[in-house]
Symmetry: none
Subunit: 230 residues, 4 copies
DNA sequence: AATGAATGAGCCTTCATTCAT
DNA sequence: GATGAATGAAGGCTCATTCAT
């Protein structure tokens, strides 16, 4: 019933020249999609195996069990997102521009990483049980905070930022609307329509959010949004 | 072997003397907890039946199947939250106080309705498939928007609010941080510590959020937050 | 006793008129054979189900899991053997005859209860883990000891038995050779040939064992065995 | 996920610098414990490999398959026990002392060879299928019989032993209680308590068994046991 | 309106074993 | 001799669901 491999199709069960790392990546890639789509209990190991170039048995060989695979997937998406954050260089920008850039980048990063969003939602359903077990994830999260702290420090040093501005809170705030914008799109659309999710409205929304944060952080900043009707 | 499902160790429940509506409510109450705790695929009909005062058969009798039960649960939590919103009366408050009140109420409502949050997360995992099917839910969502629109209209009428202020965006914004504050607590804490979730910090956070929104909405509002170090 | 209900030898999957107790007994009957034949890990639930008039699913319905089924089987064979002991009435016999009768009955009981023997062996391999869990088994074991104590008391009262004769030790002793006679037949035969297991030699062996025990217990008893060459 | 079998968490064992015989002994040593502990079907090749200084592949290299390994283990424990019997020298003792010595030695040997006992039990569960296949084991079993026959011959020659005394039966009898004393300790204790297995009671029990056998074998021997209350 | 018994499908996992190097 | 990678088969167990009464 599963494993209809034998068709003349293109399941290339031939000729992978012993590349364990590729097999591992292949499994992880498919599993990421499946766990993101259906959650931990909803995902199906048989289905993951079917889409893979290898067999169900190999999943257990490399990842131990379903939870092990899920945890590897979780670590994978966290690592990917944090790697993107690392690539972001704002050290050369002056504080306000840097902050604006960080908020915009975070917002965009969430929009373009739906798997990450879904897996974090799923992980929260599980009360972060697997994230907590992970040894790799906690290490990944300094980078973004470090960047924000650097920007804040510079902003305060030149008297631009308010004295109480806190990098962690700023990160929380930026994350909250960036995450929600993706995570709750389905229910929000169902309840209130899809207007907010058009490309134009998303751009306007982002501008408004940036504006709002800057107004909170930067002394004397005059908010520009909402001055004119939508 | 902990007596899950139909192993032959049977029940001896006090009989509820035939009160169909009570039975229905009982099932719904237990099911809400189970679906909120484990999601749609993760929840277990046997487990729900076990905790119920009635039998598994009755669940099927009243709700058809697992998805029917889930949908009923979903409609239940939406109805409960919206009922709370209806109870909120800001018509007598002047615009700025009213807006402040609405934001604070929304924030608190999310904190005190974790089941709702979790079920909305779960429903988003399912792309709002069941919410979309519901005929009752869309009707529930006018109330909060109506209230916000009323406040905005009054605020603009007296020249306090910026002309472009939009009730729907305002609701989206308020919801985003209120929701995220609960939904992502587990993963955020794991990554960045639990500092932000102490009672004191939560209160400060809320004040800052209100401050920030008001600064965006109200002409000439001077933000007070972040002026002093945390 | 072996419930050969399936007369005419067809799998009568039709027309059992809802008799849960019969289903339970059927499963237990087949499972006893399989566990006795292959042990706990060696037995196969699918194979048990196949031989049953019902399905694998029902095994889990009635017995929870493989270990639950095994434990039920274990309790079953203990109960059967102890019931046979209960049927044995030696109260009317004078002490020496009664003791002789008890030894002979125990010896015969073991010979005719190979399933019991095998399951006890298997249970000892498992360090009596499941027997210890059983609530029913410990209660079953008074009867044989009570009988022996009664006989000993009477024997001592009339000055026939030695003062130190102990019922528990007597039971241990009787059990030891009775059990070993069946349990180790395969390896003993392989090492030393099958001579001891012919019907004639078994009868002689039993007589010798009785003779030996009586010589230990009864004052002035003159052993008759081994006086003449085998 | 506790790293059983070939999940990709690999080994880092100190290399044994190629000593094939040592590797073979190491495997056999571990396998003996595992088969004794869990039986043939219950033992796990992966688990054995894990505890070994070498890899799973080597087990197959040296022993062919699981059954081959089991058979090697079986032959090993038989050889060990028989070697101990060979070391026992009773040729210099007069017949009664020699017989007493043989019984005591057998009893003690069983107590101190629990792996042997368990493997013989397991082998009997398998109807001695593997023992029968072995070419080495049958050869090992003459020694103890030879010794007993010698003692019996000498005892009869001097008119001490009854004419019908049979070495094989004597061995069977000695083995029966010696084996049972270890093999059924778990279930017997569960049913009747552990009293009989204290050091003192074991010594008394052995003395009684010796006394009983001697009373059967030796003409005019007056049993001393059970004269006084336990 | 209610219940104990029954069920088929399929899920996660493990096992002994072999291949390619 | 030795190793990591790979595998088919099946094993125990659970799930949502329905039947018969």
């Amino acid at each position: 019933m599963d494993a209809s491999e034998g068709d003349a199709g293109h399941k290339r069960k031939t000729s992978w020249k012993k590349d364990p790392e590729a097999v591992r990546r292949d499994i992880l890639h498919i599993a990421t999609q499946e766990f993101a789509a259906h959650g931990l209990s909803g995902a199906n190991i048989n289905e993951i195996a079917r889409q893979t170039s290898t067999s169900k048995r190999m999943i257990y060989y490399y990842f131990g069990d379903k939870e092990g695979l899920y945890q590897a997937v979780l670590e994978g998406v966290y690592a990917t997102l944090r790697a993107r954050e690392d690539d972001l260089d704002v050290a050369g920008l002056e504080p306000v521009a840097a902050l604006r850039r960080l908020i915009e980048a975070t917002f965009e990063a969430h929009v373009t990483a739906p798997h990450f969003i879904r897996l974090v939602m799923i992980e929260n359903i599980h009360n972060a049980e697997y994230l907590r077990k992970s040894e790799i994830v906690p290490r990944l999260n300094r980078s973004i905070i470090d960047k924000l702290e650097d920007v804040c420090a510079r902003g305060k040093a030149v008297g631009l930022f308010r004295a109480g501005v806190d990098a962690l809170e700023l990160h929380w705030l930026t994350s909250s609307f960036s995450f929600y914008n993706v995570s709750n799109r389905a229910t929000f659309s169902t309840s209130f329509g899809t207007a907010l999710y058009s490309e134009a409205r998303q751009a306007a929304l982002l501008e408004r959010l940036v504006d709002m944060v800057l107004a909170s952080v930067v002394i004397g900043y005059e908010p520009q949004s909402w001055n004119a009707p939508v």
